[in-house]
Symmetry: C2
Subunit: 240 residues, 2 copies
């Protein structure tokens, strides 16, 4: 892990940009010297790690005593995309404009994105847990499809907070029943691009006995800020 820049925020949180081979990442750690529990925070469908909403959540979470890390995994954020990826995304934009069915195109975009992202997140996790300022256990927050895959394949994930507003490939919908860690699923009731019933069906399918759904009125980006606080308390119950 190579630190490329660091700065300290007013609330004492240290922000470090890093690279890990080809993987660019950001790590927020709290002012406290004690090893902090780690939360991996990923944005739905490979949006950039520098997105303002993700950064705001990460800072809030770090100020509350967690180490928070995010990366742009293969094909995510500004990472290069394959010709096939670019073609699938062009198809998606065209279909959305034309009002045509998009499920199969989403499947071809998001399915490989998740498959390729998982090993890079696991590599990142290995590197982060080697840092003295980071303890266990590990939580996961954000991108639903990636989180399902990670929760099923990565035994170090102890709790997961998922945001329902993103396409979930067939493979992850089927894996949902294998998720056995405590989870909190966050749903925007009127998310224009993500049918509510799919999120409710997924909540029903998760295999864990400790699952909570929080739903709020409003569209995709309308999640109220108090849900960030509720998320911290959820992790507080399971990671501390």
């Amino acid at each position: 892990m190579h630190i490329t820049s660091e700065r300290r925020l007013d609330d004492g949180v240290l922000v470090r940009e890093f690279t890990l081979g080809e993987i660019p990442g950001t790590l927020w750690t709290p002012a406290s010297a004690a090893p902090a529990p780690l939360i991996l925070m990923a944005h739905n469908n490979g949006l950039p790690k520098a997105d303002a909403r993700l950064v705001a959540r990460a800072r809030h979470c770090a100020a509350d005593g967690y180490a928070v890390a995010t990366v742009d995994a293969a094909g995510c954020g500004d990472r290069p995309r394959s010709t096939a990826d670019e073609q699938a995304r062009a198809d998606l934009r065209r279909a959305l404009r034309a009002g045509e069915p998009v499920d199969e195109i989403f499947e071809s975009v998001v399915g490989p994105l998740v498959e390729n992202a998982v090993p890079e997140w696991r590599t990142t996790l290995d590197a982060l847990l080697a840092l003295p300022e980071i303890g266990g256990p590990v939580g996961y927050s954000g991108w639903l499809a990636l989180g399902i895959r990670l929760a099923v394949t990565e035994p170090r994930i102890a709790a997961a907070g998922f945001f329902a507003g993103g396409f979930v490939p067939r493979a992850q919908r089927e894996e949902a029943r294998q998720v056995t860690v405590p989870l909190l699923l966050l749903l925007q009731w009127d998310d224009e691009g993500n049918p509510r019933q799919r999120a409710l069906d997924l909540f029903d399918a998760f295999g864990t006995e400790q699952k909570t759904l929080h739903a709020n009125l409003g569209g995709h980006t309308g999640t109220p800020w108090f849900e960030a606080e509720d998320g911290n308390r959820f992790f507080g119950r399971h990671l501390r």
Copy 2:
């Protein structure tokens, strides 16, 4: 308002039993001397105010700085029931045992219960707000059908936390869209006696723009304790 007994708990909360005409009630007030916001707490479908789960929630809430009051309104708890009430309840028990449809019988039990309870809760609210140790604003917690009726008819109610696990008469299902105060609806995902879809439809129908649904795995009485804490924080956002 006539105080019939009082005692102080270890955490400083003062518990007073009172009567207001024929209405028996309990009032919990926090140790602090400053006027506290008031929460009216009612048990679904007229269950007794002395029920252990309600008492536990009320104490927790008072220890957190709220004045909490509950009453057994007409026909609720141990209050006398009319011959018609008794007959309807006998019909309900028989139908439940026989596995017959119960919606119409529930309607005949709960509909009048709500109608008769509302004026007694409003009388209680008048008396409570006259006490110097109670300030405004006022929250409501618990019994869904009564809460809908109160939120629609009583302008002093500023926020409402509802528990979905109770029959909601037709009149209140229709009134739901007139509820405009911030609300938190608590749903047990596998509540055997209360179909999940009805609760989701009701959440969808509420007229307020600030509505949040919390759903947890498990049956009617399985609500996790952290929801009591979440409830206090919900009231903290709207009553303080």
